[in-house]
């Protein structure tokens, strides 16, 4: 038991040295010039622990190439530790049918402590009307 306690104490001391706690400081324009089109979103949280680790700051969309939707979701790591997640966008048409396409794949993302990052996707079909972003914890 004594050796276990010693191991735990050593691990606790070494953990901060492993580089897992790299927080991000940021600076940006106080009055942003951008006027994004924000989307009111609905969130379904089935993994409460992940919901407490990663926050959704904003969702905005635009039209590219004339008639294709592009959405961007800004995510925030709510903790001090590096956090690895996987995310995936899915598109649906006006009738709620899945559109599919090459953009629908799981992608990895590593967020440093307290970092805010944006992930985006472009619908490859003009039929795409609605989207879903799925987020799961990384390996």
């Amino acid at each position: 038991m004594k050796s276990f306690a010693l191991f735990a104490a050593t691990a606790a001391l070494l953990l901060p040295l492993t580089g897992c706690q790299t927080n991000v400081n940021t600076v940006s324009r106080a009055e942003p010039l951008a006027r994004p089109t924000l989307v009111n979103d609905k969130r379904v949280v089935t993994d409460r622990s992940l919901g407490e680790l990663i926050g959704v700051v904003s969702v905005n969309e635009t039209i590219v190439s004339g008639n294709l939707r592009k959405v961007q979701v800004t995510l925030e790591n709510l903790r001090d530790n590096n956090r690895e997640i996987r995310y995936r966008f899915e598109w649906f048409d006006q009738d709620g049918m899945a559109v599919g396409g090459v953009s629908e794949l799981w992608l990895p993302l590593v967020l440093a402590g307290r970092e805010t990052r944006s992930v985006s996707t472009v619908a490859t079909s003009p039929r795409a009307a609605d989207f879903t972003l799925k987020i799961v914890e990384g390996k």
Binding site: M1, K70, V102, S103, L105, W106, V122, T124, G138, K139
Partner: protein
Amino acid sequence: MNSPLRRFSVVSLLAAGLLSLSGCQTPRDAKYIESGGASTVVTLDQINIQDWNRAADAMVASLLSSGVLERVPEQPAVLAISRIVNNTQQQVDTDSLTKKIRVALNQSGKVITTTTLGLGGKVEDPLAKESAEMAAMMAGQKQVTRLPYYTLSGKLLEDRAQAGKVKQVTYTFQLSLTTVKDGLAVWEEEKQITKQGTRSSVGW
């Protein structure tokens, strides 16, 4: 055995038991998984299916967001696939990248790819070309081939580094979209994918 240690052992055993039920263990028996999904094998010595998918996704998003396809006088623009140079150590079929991009562009309605015009006369669909020639000959007309408005060319690069037992490989995917009439690259993109580790793994 003292009480806290016994409690720790019991907790450890319970945790191990629960973990085996959670589906996180490495599979031994063959099973179907999602192609390019989070359960796919990650290796350091080759471009994996998820790498092709990620590169194609990034390229398509960049091209569609660039706005160049809106400036085409007649939509959909005709695209021909030019040379994709493979400068990696492995033998790859560059269709793993270009086909995904072609499919996405086709779905968008902005671009269609010609299959009867190819680099060095090598066409993707020789039967379609021969049939068109035959039909034109039978009709006593000269065959009219719609020439491409754009060509897609590119290069695959590989960079390797090692620190002790840790290996790192970076695959660089470069693509250029050139307007045929003036030979100018109107869109260019580069996507890098880096993998690091000591050995291959299942899942990422």
